[in-house]
Each structure stands twice: as structure tokens, then as C-alpha cells.
């Protein structure tokens, strides 16, 4: 009798926790190859992450001065990654500070 009650409580708790948590956030991979971002326009949701990977032989940088989200992930070498968590809905203009021709957009929805 007691064990049945415990199992009901555990199941109920699991149910509540599962629905109380936000949907699983996605991680979007973007590489930097030949002085270009591999994804020109990325559609994502608030809470998602974007992982930038440098596949060039030289350093790259990732930053944005957008009103939606302002960040500077710094400069990093080949094979290294930097991760960004999307905090606000809107459009983020992403650039490489070292190579100003490298640009992409992230369209973030709620």
C-alpha cells in the first residue's frame, strides 16, 4: 500500500517537473570556413545555443553590436569553438571583427 502511494507521488512529481520545464533548447552549429559563416541566416528560438567553430587556418572572432543582443565571443584559433546563448527575440547581426566581410544573421523567435 505504502509503496503504491510512493510510486504515485514519484510519477506525479515527474509529470509536473516535465511539463514545468521549458522545451529542450536546441544547439545550432555554425562553422567559419574560407572567411565565411556556413549559415547566412539562422532561425532559432530564445534559449537555444549557437556553437561557432573555426575551421580556417587563422583566427576568427564573433561579435554583435545589435540591439537584440550585444556580445563579443573574442578571437579563437582553428578547431576551437565559442558558444552563444540566445536571450532575446529579434534579429542579431553577427560579424567577425577581424574579417568584416564575414556576416550572418540570427532570427530569434520566442
Amino acid at each position: 500500500m505504502i509503496s503504491r502511494s510512493v510510486s504515485r507521488v514519484v510519477m506525479l512529481t515527474a509529470f509536473v517537473v516535465a511539463f514545468a520545464m521549458p522545451a529542450h533548447a536546441a544547439d545550432h552549429a555554425v562553422a567559419q570556413i574560407k572567411k565565411a559563416f556556413t549559415v547566412p541566416v539562422l532561425k532559432a528560438k530564445v534559449g537555444d545555443t549557437v556553437t561557432f567553430r573555426n575551421d580556417d587556418e587563422f583566427a576568427h572572432n564573433v561579435f554583435s553590436l545589435s540591439e537584440t543582443q550585444n556580445f563579443d565571443l573574442g578571437s579563437y584559433k582553428k578547431g576551437e569553438t565559442r558558444q552563444l546563448t540566445l536571450k532575446n527575440p529579434g534579429t542579431i547581426e553577427v560579424e567577425c571583427a577581424i574579417h568584416p566581410e564575414m556576416k550572418m544573421k540570427i532570427e530569434v523567435s520566442k
Binding site: K35, F58, F63, L65, S75, A97, I98, H99, P100, E101
Partner: protein
């Protein structure tokens, strides 16, 4: 029964013709696909396609000192074609002989740049052309005054009409004409180019070894890439600020991102032997000094670009790099200073 073959038979002249044709095609294909060789034509915006009239007007304006407040200096004062389109000074001399903070960059091949000026504050040649004219420290000429002064010179009217029919004298047409002229200032064939096209005797063995170092151990091509030897990017290469001078933040003034503090645009290396002194503040008089700078991994380590590291080049290897760099000089363009309208 024996039957004579109908296979194609060519005479000796025909064979030679085919052989030369195939060889010629191979050379053309190699030239067009070689990333180290300059394209034949410079790009231009659709709304300012180059014409002879635009280039002619632009050349006049480029050499006309009346575009400066005191009618004492023209674009060519600093971008002197006799000095590799620079001024031969460590840093430029501007309005009223004041010494400015940065070295005058050559305008050779600026047509190919995707961004202009040491700090990238101008996006293209049309945007850049009137910048130094109106800059207080340079030609110090407010653009409305410049337009009024040019409108008061009757001889200019027909040149503007020919170049930009119906548009008259304005800061826009002045900028477009100067940009059109600047697009004609291109590097000419250098020993390096001849070598890339197949002339094995065009450069020395040291220069060939230097080019290998340039692409490999010395890491120069990380930034000085492609036919114009620039990535159009911005790097802090560890130039020491001379005592008594203010620190120059460079690109950071345009893009306040940490890595841009002290970063400047990678300059072309075309005609590098003609454009001393070197670096954004002209701190080195010789290419040997420049190579030594990179070999020790820069001087000022504050916010240094992560691509800049000590290279471990021997004296001989540094000399080979210099030998290579010297092969990038073309024959300077022959420029006739134009008679100016009155």
C-alpha cells in the same frame, strides 16, 4: 584488302599551331585560376561605371590643390605617384603642416579593397574620396565650400557635363570622379607575376624560397593573402607606441570590440619596395626591419592578434623573405599631371 586509314593527319605547321594553341589555353587558364595574380579589370559599382570622361575629370580633381581650404594641397600631395602613391614620410603632413598620426597608404589597387582606410571607416572609394578633403587635419575643406569653389571655375563645367550629364558639380559627382580615377591606379606586372605565369628566371631562387616561407613558416599569407596580398581584415600586430605619442586605438574607434583595439587594416604588399616607410605609423624604414618585427612576434604584446607569434626565422630566411617581397614591385605607372581648368 588493305584500306588506307582515314585517321586525321596533320602537317608539321598544323601540329605546331595546335600545340601552341593548347599551351596558350593552358597558360590563360592557369593565369585566370591563380589566386596570386591580379584580375585584368578592377570592379566598379553599377551606378559609377568607369568612362574616359569620368577618369579624366577624376584625375584633374585628384591633382587639383583648390580642393583644399588653402588651395595648397591636393590628393596627390600625400598620394604622390612619384613615390608609389604615398609621400615617403613616416606619417602624413596635413593642414598647415601639422604632422598626422598615421602613415599614408598607397592607393595602388584600392579598387579591389572591400573596405577603405587604415581603420576601415570608409566602405568604398566613393565613400572615401571626399573624406580627406573635408577632414580638419588634412585638406580641411568643408564640402559645400569645395562645391562652391569648383562651380566658380568655368572651365570645370564641361568636364562635369561630359562625365555626369545633368548632375552638375556636387560632392557626389566629385567623389565619383575621383573614385573612377583611383580605380585606374593598379599594380603592373611584377617579376613575381612573370614567375607565376611560368618564367622560371623572373625571380631568384632566394625569392622563390622566400615565397614558400611567406606561405608557411613565416605565416605572412595568413593575413597578406591573394593577389592583392591583403585579407581586408584588421589585426593588432604589436607596433610599439613611440614615447610621447598617444596610443592609437585603430579599428576600435569604429568597432568597439576588444580584439580591435590597436588593430589596423592589412595593407597590400604590391609595390612594397616603392612605399617605404612601413607600418601604420611608418616606424620601419626597410623591409628587413619589418620582417624582423614579425620574427620576434611583435613588440607591444597588449591585445596582440593571436596570429602574431615568434617565428624562429634564421637570418638567411629573413633575407629570403625580403628577396621575395622585392619581387612584388611592378613598373610604376607613367602619370602625366593634367592641366587644370580655369
Amino acid at each position: 584488302m588493305y584500306r588506307k586509314s582515314s585517321a586525321l593527319r596533320l602537317s608539321l605547321p598544323q601540329v605546331l599551331f595546335v600545340a601552341f594553341f593548347v599551351l596558350g589555353c593552358a597558360v590563360v587558364c592557369a593565369t585566370e585560376s591563380d589566386p596570386w595574380l591580379r584580375p585584368a579589370a578592377a570592379p566598379a559599382p553599377a551606378d559609377n561605371a568607369p568612362t574616359a570622361a569620368r577618369v579624366k575629370l577624376g584625375q584633374m580633381l585628384f591633382f587639383d590643390p583648390r580642393l583644399s581650404r588653402k588651395a595648397s594641397m591636393s590628393c596627390a600631395t600625400c598620394h604622390n605617384p612619384a613615390l608609389g602613391w604615398t609621400d615617403g614620410l613616416s606619417t602624413a603632413v596635413g593642414f598647415d603642416m601639422q604632422i598626422l598620426g598615421r602613415n599614408t597608404p598607397t592607393i595602388v589597387n584600392t579598387a579591389f579593397n572591400s573596405i577603405q582606410m587604415w581603420d576601415g571607416r570608409k566602405k568604398d572609394l566613393e565613400d572615401q574620396a571626399t573624406g580627406p578633403i573635408s577632414a580638419g587635419g588634412e585638406m580641411n575643406m568643408p564640402l559645400p565650400e569645395m562645391v562652391a569653389r569648383l562651380q566658380a571655375i568655368p572651365g570645370y563645367a564641361r568636364y562635369f557635363d561630359d562625365a555626369y550629364p545633368g548632375q552638375g558639380v556636387s560632392d557626389v559627382t566629385v567623389a565619383r570622379a575621383i573614385a573612377s580615377y583611383e580605380r585606374t591606379v593598379l599594380s603592373t606586372e611584377s617579376p613575381f607575376d612573370r614567375w607565376r605565369k611560368g618564367d622560371v628566371h623572373a625571380v631568384s631562387e632566394d625569392a622563390k624560397a622566400g615565397f614558400e616561407l611567406f606561405q608557411g613558416k613565416a605565416k605572412c599569407a595568413v593575413c597578406h593573402s591573394g593577389f592583392n596580398f591583403t585579407d581586408n581584415g584588421f589585426h593588432n600586430i604589436g607596433i610599439k607606441t613611440p614615447e610621447g605619442h598617444d596610443y592609437d586605438v585603430g579599428r576600435y574607434a569604429q568597432k568597439p570590440i576588444k580584439s580591435m583595439r590597436g588593430a589596423f587594416k592589412t595593407p597590400t604588399l604590391r609595390d612594397i619596395g616603392l612605399t617605404a616607410p612601413y607600418m601604420r605609423n611608418g616606424c620601419y624604414k626597410t623591409l628587413k626591419e619589418v620582417v624582423a618585427h614579425y620574427n620576434r612576434g611583435g613588440d607591444d604584446q597588449d591585445n596582440l592578434d593571436i596570429n602574431i607569434v615568434p617565428l624562429g626565422l634564421s637570418d638567411g630566411e629573413q633575407d629570403q623573405l625580403v628577396a621575395f617581397l622585392q619581387t612584388l614591385d611592378g613598373t610604376p605607372m607613367q602619370v602625366t599631371v593634367p592641366a587644370l581648368p580655369h
